[in-house]
Symmetry: C2
Subunit: 364 residues, 2 copies
């Protein structure tokens, strides 16, 4: 059977190996496996969130409130925006999907960083759009601007802090950059890890309200998958002008998040103390990774997230290291596929990090 | 900002009113509201499913097993197919989305019944495909075939049992119909309510294995949202040849169902006794609706599902009736938007149906 030609160019996204798969492949006891590969919050979510979800289990037969009234009101309050400036997605991934499908087609170009979140390119391929990449590892906004002038893309993605590298752009630089972009180009600011950056350095903190009250052509993305500890529940959001939100809404399927996800995300917004505690612990543990790298004489990228990218020396192959760790039940992300001889490690709980250092000692 | 032209033709799907919205609009106590509008299973899901989900709440931070190994194995066993002949979606809606995006574009036509599930047309509009409809209320396969010859659609949807009318096509007629369709046309058999049809009349039961072993161009859809009582958890599936599944997989976003949804659906497959009990009760209660309609002298469509469509007389307006019921806390679906002077009522628990009959007595 023939399918649309756009499918020919699509490769399937390779997610971090789930614990279940490692258990099956290598026969390792699931209790022995440490997964530091998908930037999940190792402290999970607030006990209050767990309690709220347990209390809602009897509602699983009921479709969720498709207006998402409560969650949108919570986000609007948190960010001091209007509810009609908010859209909820099954992860911020789905908001990216809406935006790409709303704005780009096979005639369009989409401008992204050389190394960045894989889903931008995947959704670009879904619509047959051409992906233009900058050359440097970290976001170089001058290079972005030059390519913008050359290619006039329909969409520009800025991922800050960037995944999978962890670096972050100054908020003032982002504002100056967007001011130079024409109002017909959609600029998507992906702040999936913004809670971490905001905690570490206020100069990196981009506020959705400032962005959308200054620019009509900006879509800010956030997620409950990282700092909020709800990676498994698939809830993200977009914040933008009503015009953009209305367009994206046309592509939103009904009931796009689950009844329990709605409950979990709404409850998570109510317990910021837990979130801030987990961010604080993460950066305390991050210092141990930096000290480990310094002691081993390897470079790392300064991170504004809950993960750290370790750039290995010439004599060490990241794929070999990641594979050796995997066979001992330690799952990290090899960045060879991104053209980097590096591994990305989610900063885990102290005992998980102990295990990483013990295993990595012999490999790096 | 300009968006893709395809957005101009898209209208937003109107879901059944959730209980929360009625509470807000009319200030009715949520305990007083009965929702018989979205064909949810009023008996919910198995207690074993609830238990499994409660036990997994601490895993909400973890992304789901993206291979969906366990759930796919469960479905493959249930339907005697291979795991590579199965794809999981966030509701069968999402599998429809994958199929339409994989097979159709703005040059394509999609053939559907005059009155049928709204999402077929919505996804067709997403890709700019032209929708061709038959003329009759129930699936007329001769009319489908004539329109197929005339328009050569990329996709044909057969919804059996049909939503929102409840009627069902004989399985043998479906098999004879598909045999006449060329192998480049994708025939999608939406069996969202098939568990109910199979219980009531085996002549209506389409088996995925028979379909896909006979035809390379068929995609069978099923869901956990109806008989399995997991409407809020967004899990559906497609079963087809490996060739079709591989194409659809290219459009599947990673982690497209939640960690708890995966747990719930896998557990639900293990307790068929509960599902069969709820189907049995539903048809027992259905008889009361049929008796009510007969007593009132109004027609109904014989239903192979967990809902019944009551066709109102000339002097009674379905929108007026649905609105009057709503103001008293009884939510049903008005089918005026489908061109029918009818209401669709989900068969509820006995006490919910009592309430419907009591309120409807004065209105119909």
């Amino acid at each position: 059977m023939r399918f649309n030609k756009t499918l020919d160019a699509i490769k399937v996204y390779e997610a971090g190996k789930p614990i279940e798969l490692v258990v099956r492949e290598f026969g390792i006891d699931s209790k022995e496996i440490v997964k530091l590969a998908s930037n999940e919050n190792p402290y999970g979510c607030s006990p209050k969130v767990q309690e709220a979800v347990r209390g809602s289990v009897e509602n699983m037969a009921r479709y969720p409130d498709d207006s998402m009234y409560g969650l949108k009101a919570g986000l609007a309050k948190r960010f001091d925006v209007k509810t009609h400036e908010v859209i909820i997605g099954a992860g911020s991934d789905q908001v990216i999907e809406f935006a790409v499908h709303a704005k780009a087609d096979s005639e369009s170009k989409i401008l992204i960083n050389s190394i960045t979140f894989a889903m931008y390119e995947i959704y670009a391929r879904h619509v047959g759009a051409e992906v233009i990449r900058t050359a440097s590892r970290e976001h170089d906004l001058d290079a972005f601007y030059a390519l913008y002038l050359e290619h006039r893309p329909a969409i520009i993605f800025l991922c800050t802090p960037n995944n999978p590298t962890g670096d972050s752009i100054d908020a003032s630089a982002v504002m100056e950059f967007i001011a130079k972009i024409d109002s017909e180009t959609l600029v998507i600011v992906d702040g999936a890890y913004m809670e971490y950056a905001r905690y570490k350095d206020s100069a990196k903190a981009l506020e959705p309200k400032t962005l959308i009250s200054t620019f009509d052509n900006v879509l800010y993305l956030g997620t409950f998958s990282k700092a909020y500890g709800l990676g498994g529940m698939r809830v993200g959001y977009g914040i933008a002008s009503q015009e953009i939100i209305t367009a994206l809404y046309k592509l939103r399927p009904p009931f796009n998040i689950t009844t329990l996800s709605l409950e979990a995300a709404s409850a998570a917004l109510e317990d910021d103390t837990f979130v801030q505690m987990s961010i604080k612990k993460s950066f305390e543990e991050m210092e141990r990774y930096e000290a480990f790298a310094d002691a081993k004489g390897i470079r790392f990228i300064e991170s504004y997230t809950n993960f750290i990218t370790l750039c290995l020396g010439e004599g060490t192959d990241s794929t070999v290291v990641a594979d050796a760790l995997l066979r001992q039940g330690m799952i990290v992300r090899d960045l060879a596929g991104y053209g980097l001889n590096a591994i990305r490690v989610t900063v885990g709980r102290p005992e998980e990090n102990d295990r990483f250092f013990a295993l990595a000692e012999a490999l790096i």
